[in-house]
Each structure stands twice: as C-alpha cells, then as structure tokens.
Amino acid sequence: MKNGKRLKTRKISELLELYPFLTNFFEDNLIDIEGKADLTINELLNTIDEDELEDKALDVEKLLSSISEYIDQMIEFLGEDDSNGVEKLTILPGRDKSGETEKFDPIEISKSEIISIVGPTGSGKSRLLADIEWTAQEDTPTLRKILINDKLPDKKWRFSSSNKLVAQLSQNMNFVMDLTVREFLELHAKSRMVEEEESVIEKIIYEANKLAGEKFDPDTPVTSLSGGQSRALMIADTAILSSSPIVLIDEIENAGIDRKKALRLLVGEEKIVLMATHDPLLALMGNKRIVINNGGIKKLIITSDQEKDILSGLEKMDSIVQKMRKKLRYGESLSLEDLMKENENA
C-alpha cells in the first residue's frame, strides 16, 4: 500500500485525474461520487451514513485498503510493456508417473515459437501445460521446474489476475455475452486499459475477417456469428488483446478457419504457442514437438526438413478432401477424373 498516506488527503477530482480507472472502481464498489469531486477520499467515505453502509454492505477500512491496493496494481500493470517481458521459457526435468527421472536436456522455448505436444490419452499433456501455467517449482506431481528468462519466476504469474501467464483457446465456439462484435471488443479493451482503443479494435476485426471464410460486420451480435467466425474472432482477440504471453491450444479443428494463418497471427504478435494435438497437420506446424508418455517427457523432436515437406504433402491432400467435401455439400457427384485432376493441380 504505497499510496496509503497520500491517498486519504487527496481530492476525488485529483485522484480521478491521476487515476482515471478509479471511475469504474467507484462504480463497481457502489460508491456514488457525483457532486463530490471536491471532497477528499476520507470525507467522501464519511458522507456515507450508517444506513447506507449497512445497505450496500460497505466497510470503510476495507474500501480504503482496496483503493490503495488497486491503484498500486494498476500502476504496475500500466507500466509494463505489451509482451509482459517473457522472452524465454525453460522446462527442467522432473519425474514420470513411475517416479523415474525424466531424461531430457532443459527445453528452451522462445517468443514466437510454436511447440506441439503429442502423446496418448492420459499421458500427461494437460499436466505439462498446467505445470507451465503454474510456473511449477518442484511443487507439482511431476516435480518439474519452470524458469522464465532463465530466472525463478515472479510470484505474480501465479496470483495476480492481470498477469496470467497463459491464455487458452478453448474448444467451445460460442460467446455467452449479449453484445455486438464492436461492443464486445470495446469491453475487453477497456478492461485491459489499452490506449488507441479504436485502432486496436479495427485491427482485430480486420484480422478475424482474414481468418474466417465469410466476413462479418462489427455490428453483428457475437452470439449470431457462425462457428468459424466466432473462432476467428476469439483467435484474433487473443493474439492482439490478451495480456498473456503464452497461448495454449487444445486442438483447433477445421471449423471454417485457416489454421495456418491463425498460428501465424499468434506468433506474429510475439506469443509463445503451445498446442496439444493428435492431428498430424497441426503437430507438424510446430517447429518442435514434445513427446509425452506415462506422465514424462520422453523426447523433444525438432521438425525436420523432410517432415516439413511431408506437411506440404499433407496440406495438399487436406485441400483435396476439403474440395470434395464442398462438392458433396452442394449436391454434386464425384468422379475419379476429378480426383486425378485435383491431384495434378495440387
């Protein structure tokens, strides 16, 4: 509570000028500041009578400490640069489910890298992702240790709500908020307190439209977007507006978005991308892949040039499958000739 003393004697008007974010704070804490700009914070809290304190369940002591704490957090938060300063993430070995020490050299992952994680069901992929999110310090069942920028991670990665290390693209493809695309992005931008809100929102809509098959209008309610459009908006929003330097992906299926472009957008915004997947197309899009079995990391494989060639082969096959799907959807019949032709073109 570095601001404690100064805080109590400052006028509300001064505070709001210094810390504009307090407007929302007062509102969400049910404190009416209308016409009270000339009071100090102490005087303001004193104008609230017993009945009102009881009605709104306010506690003056708690409020004072909350305001001070909130100001400290926001100052620190606003002072940080976009990337939140994670240049490098290191995973140090722990042990697998049988208690055997994992035999791998420290795995170093840098900004803008894509890492895929492969392994059978129940092998420990989610546990590895959780170890990273919690910046494990030999205090999880795997006894792994995570370093950030070669150092022991700051506690904020575990406990601060505005400094979550990891953003997650979930499987679900629907929004629950009842807002238009623009209102939705404004709300997110406000909560992140970005400057140049307008241009950030324009950029997200532009990038999302590049990912989605059919374009959408900013005035569409988010709940009426198609699955592909929702997914595209979620990815563009996470890439550009999320505060977290690492993005987790649990299988992006082929729901009408260009997955390669999606990954390119994420790493273009300097995210580290971690992807648990069974899909060879996705697995090979990573520059490295971590192989997990029986709770332990068994191998780190660097995607070879040959595998990259195989990836483009797979992409061709995939595009043929997509074309066939489209034809069937529009009521056409397929012929062997078609297949041969597509094969040659691809």
């Binding site: 957090q73 505005s162 979930s170 999320s242």
Partner: protein
C-alpha cells in the same frame, strides 16, 4: 485441524471445485471432511459421501443460511476434531447477498462462475469483497476475452484477493488451489472469541415475529420503508 470456508452463489461450482481439490489433497495423505450449509434442501452430501468424504449437512429453513452458519460453527468444528480431520471445509450456498460466513483469520474462498454475467461481482457484496481467494469456474464455456473481462471485474471489487481459474469438470487448476488450503502449523482448537469479517444485520421486524396484519400501525422494530419517489421529486 485447518478450517476453510467456501461460499458462492447457487450452482456456481462450489461442490465440483471442492471435490477436485480434495482429490489432490488426499494424494498428500490428508484427511478431509465437509459440512454443507443450505436453506431448504441439498443433495451435495450424497456427492461427498460417494467420493468417500465424511460429511454433515445443515438446513437453515426460514433463517438466513449465514446466520445459521454462525450459530452452529462451534459444533461443526467439534465434529471435525472428533473425526480426526486434517482439514475441515464448510460449503455455504450464498443465498443472502448481504451476509457472508467468513470469520477473521479463517481462510475464506468465494466461488463464482463465468456464466453469471459481468455485473455479478459488484452485486454479491461481502461474500466476494471479504474473501481471501476468488475462484472462477466454467471457463471452458466462454472465450478468453470473456474470462479476462470477468476476472478484471472480480479484481476491481476485491483487489486484495488471489484470483484463480478452476474448472469443476476436468479439475484444471484444482491441484494449484489445493496447495493454498492446508498449512501444517495451523491448528484450530476452537472458534470461541473469533469475529466475523463482516457484521450480519439482524433482520428483526414484526413480520419475523409472526405478525400477519398489513398496515403501519402493526409494524415495529427494524422497519425500513420503500422509497416510491422518482428521481425528480427528491
């Protein structure tokens, strides 16, 4: 024995989160029991029993569940000690937005869910404001943006709290939460003399005492009248 109080709006995921967390604590060889407080009915005790967790339940009926909680917490602690628990967890349905079952120096956890809407944090009062840890559930059903916005609203109402995301279905985050719940050195013998974090208003009016007749002349005690004046008439 350690004591932790969980509270949160109905169906926010309290039982699911507690069960997943207990699983992680049991792996450390700890013995955990739960007491569930609710108003009219609950089947939570069956869920705990199924998971092999010693459980008791208390139904407050017409009383505020949190008032009922304070009147009974001593007995609950006695029960936990008798069972030889390492950790006693209370789960309270947050039905009264004015009260909260939190006690000074006893860890207090509020469970909220992402689906409840971004205005929920400011509406639920001391149950969130006075908590040490705020758990947000059902992140699997919403987008990253919605999670971030909701968490920022929670933080605004209680900036001092640790905010964690826990999934009640797949248990994501439950291990991490479990590390914050038990401290070996902490020993609760009795709660006598401990204080509530936030006072509970005595909701005593004539009608609480059985009055059925309508009209001002029958009203005594703690009566508050509704303000029917419009903004312009003030």
């Amino acid at each position: 024995m350690n004591l932790v109080t969980f509270s949160g709006p109905p169906s926010s995921g309290k039982t699911s989160v507690i069960l997943k967390t207990i699983k992680a604590l049991k792996d450390r060889g700890l013995k955990i029991g739960v007491v569930k407080f609710d108003a009219l009915s609950t089947d939570d005790d069956i869920l705990y029993e199924k998971a092999g967790v010693p459980v008791r339940k208390g139904l407050s009926g017409a009383l505020c569940p949190d008032h009922y909680f304070v009147s009974n917490i001593e007995e609950v602690v006695e029960w936990g000690k008798g069972e030889g628990l390492d950790l006693l967890i209370t789960e309270s349905a947050g039905l009264c937005n004015r009260c909260s079952p939190y006690i000074k120096d006893i860890k207090a956890i509020c469970v909220l869910d992402n689906l409840s809407g971004i205005n929920t944090p400011k509406k639920i009062g001391p149950m969130l404001k006075m908590a040490d840890i705020a758990i947000i559930t059902k992140g699997d059903i919403v987008s990253q943006a919605e999670r971030e916005v909701f968490a920022s609203r929670v933080n605004m109402v209680n900036p001092g709290a640790v905010v964690m995301h826990v999934n009640g279905l797949n248990g994501q985050g439950a291990f991490e939460l479990s590390t914050l719940l038990y401290e070996k050195e902490e020993k609760i013998e009795s709660l006598k003399g401990k204080k509530l974090r936030f006072s509970m208003p005595a909701a005593l009016c004539s009608y609480c005492l059985g009055e059925t007749r309508i009209g001002e002349s029958y009203q005594m005690g703690n009566v508050r009248k509704i303000d029917m004046k419009g903004k312009d008439q003030k």
